[in-house]
C-alpha cells in the first residue's frame, strides 16, 4: 500500500473548495435572466379542489406566470411514477394512483403542490403566492397506517387504501415451527417515521434554450441520468436527447434526493412557458412537506426457539405506510429491501413475511439511509435480544448459537450470503466494548443513582445494489449496473467519468486512489468527473451503498481495458510482442530486458499514433465499461451500545459505542469510518430523538427544526470503530460497501441497551426522556400490581 493507494487514509481532494466556501451547490448557481418560483401547497391533508383563482396573484408586481395542475394537464405533461412493480399474493399488480406534478381535482397530503408562481424576485413570488385563492372541499383524512385499510379509499384505484398485499417465504413451515417451539417471543414494533433533512435543501433550476429546443436542469439529485430518463420517458417534459441534467455539489442525500419530484418537473416545464430560467429553492419547513419521508412500519413479529435456544422460525406481518402517492422506489423498500434480510446473521430454517402497503394522507415515503434494512434489523435484533432475556440466555451466547457459519449460505428469503464471519465481529466488539467489565460499571452507576444497560445489534445488510436480472425478476423497472469511462489524456493525466454521484462520500478522492494505485500514476494526475449527463455516459447514481462495490468495479474493468490497450501501444513502441509487455508501477517493460517506456510516453504515443498503423490499432487511449454485479454484497457486523439513564428524568446518555463492521476490503479507512459515524448518528437519531408526527387531521405537527429533534453534537458519543475483513468474493476489489451500515445497526443497539437498563420491553422509538421516564413508571406500577 502506498501513501495514496488503495487502503490509505488519503485526505480528500474536494475539501479545499468546501472549507473555503467555494463549493458549487445548486442554489449557488445563478443563471442569466433567472426567475424565481414559489409553490403553493395544500394546507389540507385531503380535499377536493373546487377552484383555483390565480387572477389576483397574476396581477402582482414582477409576476411572469401563475401555473396550475390544469395547465400542466393541458400541456400533456405525464405523471410521476414508481418504477418497481410489486405484485400482491393474488397476482394483481400494485395499485399505483395517478400522481400529477401539480394536483388537479384533489389534494392528498398537506404539502401537495397545487400551483406555482414564477416572478422576477423571490420576494415578489412569495407575495404573489399569498394571493392565490384555492377553494377546497375538505375531506376526512386517513392518517394512521394501522387503521387505513378500514377507512374510505383516498384513491379510486386502491380500495381499502391497499397498494399491495405481498408476501415472501413459507407460511406453512413457519406455522409448524411456532407450534413446535419450546419458546416463542412476540413483539409489536413501530418503526418510527423519519424526515431525512439533508443539510442542503432541494433546489431545481429549469432552463430552456429556444434556439436549440433543448432543456437543462440543475438539480440536487443523487442520480442525474435516472432523473433525465424518468423526466423524458415518463413525465415527457423533454425528449431524453434534448435534456441535460446537472447535479453539481450536493449537500447530502441519504436517499431523499434519489426520487423524481414534482418541483423539478414543474421548473423545466415553466422555463419553456415563460422563456426564462426558473429556479426553486426549498425552505426547510417546506422540505418537511416536500421531501420523501422514511420508515413508518407497524409490525407484529414472532420468533420461535427450540429448547437449546436455536431459532426455528420467524413470522412477520408488517403494514408499511407509503403516504399519499407512490414515490419513485417506494414499493421496493418494505418488500425486497426488507423481508429479504429477515434471516439476519442467523441460520433460520423457516421465515414468512407478509407486507401490506397502504396509502394515507401523509407525505410520500421512500428510501432513507438503510431503506428497509434498518426496519428488518430492528425486528430481528429486538426479537433475539428479548428472546434471550425471556429464556434466561446471555444475548451474546444466544447469537453465537444461531450464527451462520458456513458460506455461501442460502437464506429462506431469496438472499444467498456470500462470505462472512459473524463470530469474529462479535468477539472483537465484545473485547473493545469491555463487556466483561460491564457488571462493575453497572454497579458504579447504581451507586450514583443511575441505571446502566448494554445492548447488541448484530446486523447484516444487502447492498452494492444490484444485479440487474435479479432485481428485474423481482419487478424493478431498471437495471442497477454502473458505468465508468477512463480517459487517458495525451499528456498522461487521467479522467475517470463515473455514473455514480458523490454527495459527501468522497468519490473524487477514493476513485482517484483506485486509478492511481492501479496505473501507478500520482493521484494528482487523476480527476474524477460525475454529475453531468452531457459529460458522463448513462449511470444509475449513488444510493444503496453501491458506489464502491458496483461503481468502482466498473472503473476497474475500464482500467483493465486501458491497460490492455496501453500494452499494445507499448509493444509497438518497444518493438516487442504484446505478450512480453509487463506493466507495473506506471512503467511498461519488455520481460527479461531493461527496455521500458513510462506511462506518459505510452499515453502520448497512443494519440500521436506514429508507431503503428490504423489498421493494426486504433489511436487513442480511452475505455468504457458497464458492470453488472453478480450478487448483492453483504456487509455485516456487531454494534454494542452502553447507556446510562437518569431514572428521575428519563434522560439517556450514550456512554459507550463500539462498532465492528465487516465491509470487505476498504479503499480509504478514514472515509469508511466517517460513514459509520454518520450512519450511527442517524440511527441514534431514530432511536432517541426523531419522529415525524401527524395529528388526526393529517397536519404535520413536527414541521420544522424547532419541533423535529435532529441529533446534535451533544447527543452523540465518541465512537470506537474497528473492522474485521472477509473480502467480498463477487467483485475484484473485494468491497462490500459501508454507507448505510451505521443507520441499519444502531437503532436496535440503542433500544436493546435502554430496555436492558430499565428492565422493561415496553418502549417505543424515539426513546425520549419522557418516553423512558413513563416506561419506568409503567413497569414499576405493573410490578407493584403483581405483588
Amino acid at each position: 500500500m502506498t501513501a495514496t493507494g488503495i487502503g490509505a487514509a488519503v485526505r480528500r481532494k474536494e475539501d479545499f473548495r468546501f472549507v473555503t466556501g467555494k463549493g458549487q451547490y445548486t442554489d449557488d448557481i445563478s443563471r442569466p435572466g433567472e426567475a424565481r418560483a414559489v409553490f403553493v401547497r395544500s394546507p389540507h391533508a385531503h380535499a377536493a379542489i373546487k377552484r383555483v383563482d390565480t387572477a389576483a396573484a397574476a396581477a402582482m408586481p414582477g409576476v411572469l406566470a401563475v401555473l396550475t395542475g390544469a395547465e400542466l394537464a393541458a400541456d400533456q405533461i405525464g405523471h410521476l411514477i414508481c418504477g418497481w412493480m410489486i405484485h400482491s399474493k393474488d397476482g394483481s399488480p400494485m395499485k399505483m394512483a395517478p400522481h400529477p406534478a401539480l394536483a388537479a381535482g384533489k389534494v392528498c397530503y398537506v404539502g401537495d403542490p397545487v400551483a406555482v408562481v414564477v416572478a422576477e424576485t423571490l420576494a415578489q413570488a412569495r407575495d404573489a403566492a399569498e394571493r392565490i385563492k384555492v377553494d377546497y372541499d375538505v375531506l376526512p383524512a386517513v392518517t394512521d397506517p394501522a387503521k387505513a385499510q378500514a377507512e374510505p379509499a383516498i384513491h379510486e384505484v386502491a380500495p381499502r387504501n391497499t397498494i399491495y398485499q405481498w408476501h415472501l417465504g413459507d407460511a406453512k413451515a413457519v406455522d409448524a415451527a411456532l407450534r413446535a417451539a419450546r419458546h416463542v417471543t412476540r413483539l409489536d414494533i413501530v418503526n418510527n417515521r423519519l424526515v431525512p433533512n439533508a443539510m442542503e435543501p432541494r433546489v431545481a433550476i429549469g432552463e430552456y434554450d429556444r434556439g436549440n429546443d433543448s432543456f437543462t436542469l440543475w438539480n440536487t439529485t443523487q442520480n442525474p441520468h435516472v432523473a433525465r430518463l424518468v423526466i423524458s420517458a415518463f413525465v415527457r417534459v423533454a425528449p431524453e436527447h434534448k435534456l441535460r441534467v446537472i447535479a453539481p455539489d450536493v449537500g447530502g442525500g441519504f436517499g431523499s434526493k434519489i426520487f423524481i419530484y414534482p418541483e423539478e418537473v414543474v421548473c423545466l416545464w415553466a422555463a419553456k412557458k415563460v422563456g426564462r430560467p426558473v429556479k426553486w429553492t426549498c425552505d426547510r419547513s417546506e422540505a418537511f412537506l416536500a421531501d420523501a419521508h422514511g420508515r413508518d412500519h407497524v409490525t407484529h413479529a414472532e420468533m420461535a426457539f427450540d429448547e437449546g435456544g436455536k431459532i426455528i422460525g420467524l413470522k412477520v406481518k408488517t403494514i408499511a405506510n407509503l403516504g399519499a402517492y407512490m414515490s419513485t422506489f417506494s414499493s421496493s423498500i418494505p418488500t425486497y429491501l426488507y423481508a429479504t434480510l429477515l434471516s439476519g446473521q442467523y441460520d433460520i430454517p423457516a421465515i414468512y413475511c407478509e407486507v401490506d402497503a397502504v396509502y394515507t394522507n401523509t407525505v410520500p415515503v421512500d428510501a432513507y439511509r438503510g431503506a428497509g434494512r434498518p426496519e428488518a434489523t430492528f425486528v430481528v435484533e429486538r426479537l433475539v435480544e428479548v428472546g434471550a432475556r425471556e429464556q434466561g440466555i446471555d444475548p451474546a451466547e444466544l447469537r453465537k448459537r444461531n450464527f451462520i457459519r458456513s458460506f455461501p449460505h442460502q437464506t429462506p428469503v431469496i438472499m444467498t450470503y456470500d462470505a462472512g464471519d459473524y463470530q469474529a465481529s462479535l468477539k472483537k466488539a465484545m473485547e473493545l466494548a469491555d463487556v466483561k467489565g460491564f457488571g462493575k460499571r453497572k454497579r458504579e452507576s447504581m451507586r450514583a443513582g443511575k441505571l446502566r444497560g448494554l445492548g447488541y445489534s448484530t446486523y447484516i445488510e444487502a447492498c452494492g445494489i444490484a444485479p440487474s436480472q435479479a432485481v428485474g425478476s423481482l419487478g424493478c423497472g431498471v437495471g442497477l449496473w454502473e458505468s465508468a469511462e477512463v480517459r487517458v489524456n495525451p499528456t498522461g493525466s487521467v479522467e475517470v467519468l463515473t455514473g455514480c454521484h458523490q454527495h459527501g462520500q468522497g468519490h473524487e478522492t477514493t476513485f482517484a486512489q483506485v486509478v492511481s494505485d492501479r496505473l501507478g500514476i500520482p493521484i494528482e494526475q487523476v480527476s474524477v468527473i460525475h454529475g453531468d449527463t452531457d459529460k458522463v455516459q448513462f449511470g444509475m447514481g449513488t444510493y444503496g451503498s453501491r458506489s464502491g462495490a458496483v461503481g468502482l468495479t466498473a472503473v476497474v474493468k475500464a482500467i483493465e481495458k486501458v491497460e490492455a490497450k496501453a500494452k499494445k501501444v507499448a509493444a509497438f513502441m518497444l518493438e516487442a510482442a504484446e505478450a512480453d509487455i509487463e506493466f507495473r508501477n506506471g512503467k511498461f517493460t519488455v520481460a527479461g530486458t531493461d527496455k521500458s517506456a513510462a506511462w506518459g510516453e505510452v499515453a502520448l504515443n497512443a494519440y500521436i499514433a506514429h508507431k503503428f498503423a490504423g489498421a493494426q490499432l486504433e489511436p487513442g487511449l480511452k475505455e468504457s465499461a458497464f458492470y453488472d454485479p453478480t450478487n448483492f454484497t453483504f456487509p455485516a457486523g456487531c454494534h454494542i451500545c452502553e447507556v446510562e439513564i437518569d431514572p428521575d428524568t428519563g434522560r439517556t446518555e450514550i456512554v459507550g459505542w463500539t462498532a465492528v463492521d465487516d465491509f470487505g476490503k476498504v479503499v480509504n479507512p478514514m472515509i469508511v469510518e466517517g460513514q459509520v459515524h454518520g450512519g450511527v448518528a442517524q440511527g441514534v437519531g431514530q432511536a432517541l430523538l426523531e419522529k415525524a408526527v401527524y395529528d388526526k387531521d393529517g397536519q404535520l405537527v413536527s414541521g420544522s427544526l424547532m419541533d423535529y429533534t435532529m441529533p446534535r453534537a451533544e447527543h452523540l458519543p465518541t465512537l470506537k470503530v474497528d473492522t474485521t475483513v472477509t473480502p467480498c468474493p463477487s467483485n475484484p476489489l473485494g468491497i462490500k460497501g459501508c454507507g448505510e451500515a451505521g443507520a441499519i445497526a444502531a437503532p436496535a443497539a440503542v433500544i436493546n441497551a435502554i430496555t436492558d437498563a430499565i428492565g422493561t420491553e415496553d418502549l417505543a422509538m424515539p426513546a425520549t426522556p419522557q418516553a423512558v421516564w413513563a416506561a419506568i413508571r409503567r413497569a414499576a406500577s405493573m410490578q407493584k400490581a403483581a405483588e
Binding site: D15, G21, M199, G251, H677, G678, A681, M710, R712, A713
Partner: protein
Amino acid sequence: MPAVSMTVNGKAVTADVDPRTLLVQFLRENLRLTGTHVGCDTTQCGACVVHLDGVAVKSCTVLALQADGCNVLTIEGLAAPDGPLHPMQEAFREHHGLQCGFCTPGMVMTAVDIVRRKGHELDERTIRQELDGNLCRCTGYHNIVKAIAAGARAMKGA
C-alpha cells in the same frame, strides 16, 4: 429601497436593498459570496454563521440593514486570498471533519468563535456543548469535534 453600507471581508460595499433582505441573502445574492449557506428557516442549523464585528451570528436572523456600518467576515475571508488555509480550515481537512461540505462554512466560523471565547485548549464536552447551534447530518460530529480541538491548538501559534 434603503441603502446599506458595510465592510465585507475587508472590502467596503454599498447597495440598495428591500428592507426584508436578510444578511445571508445580501451576502449570497447581492455580493455573490455563496460560501455562507441557508440550511433552515428557524435559526437552528448554523450553516449561515458569519462574524459580525468579530462575533459569530446567524446571518439568516440578521437583517442586512442591521449590519449597516458593521464589519462582516465570511468563510471566504477567513484565509488570505492566495494564502494558506486558516488553521481551523486545515484542521477540518486533516481530520475529515466534513463530508458533503454544506454545514462546513458555518461550522468553521462557529469554531473560530469558540476559540475566541473559550481559548485554545478545548475539551470534548465543551466543544459538543458549544456546537448546539450547528447541525450536521453527515459526520455524526465525531471528526468535527476532533478537528475543532486540533484547529484550536493550531490557532495558538498563529
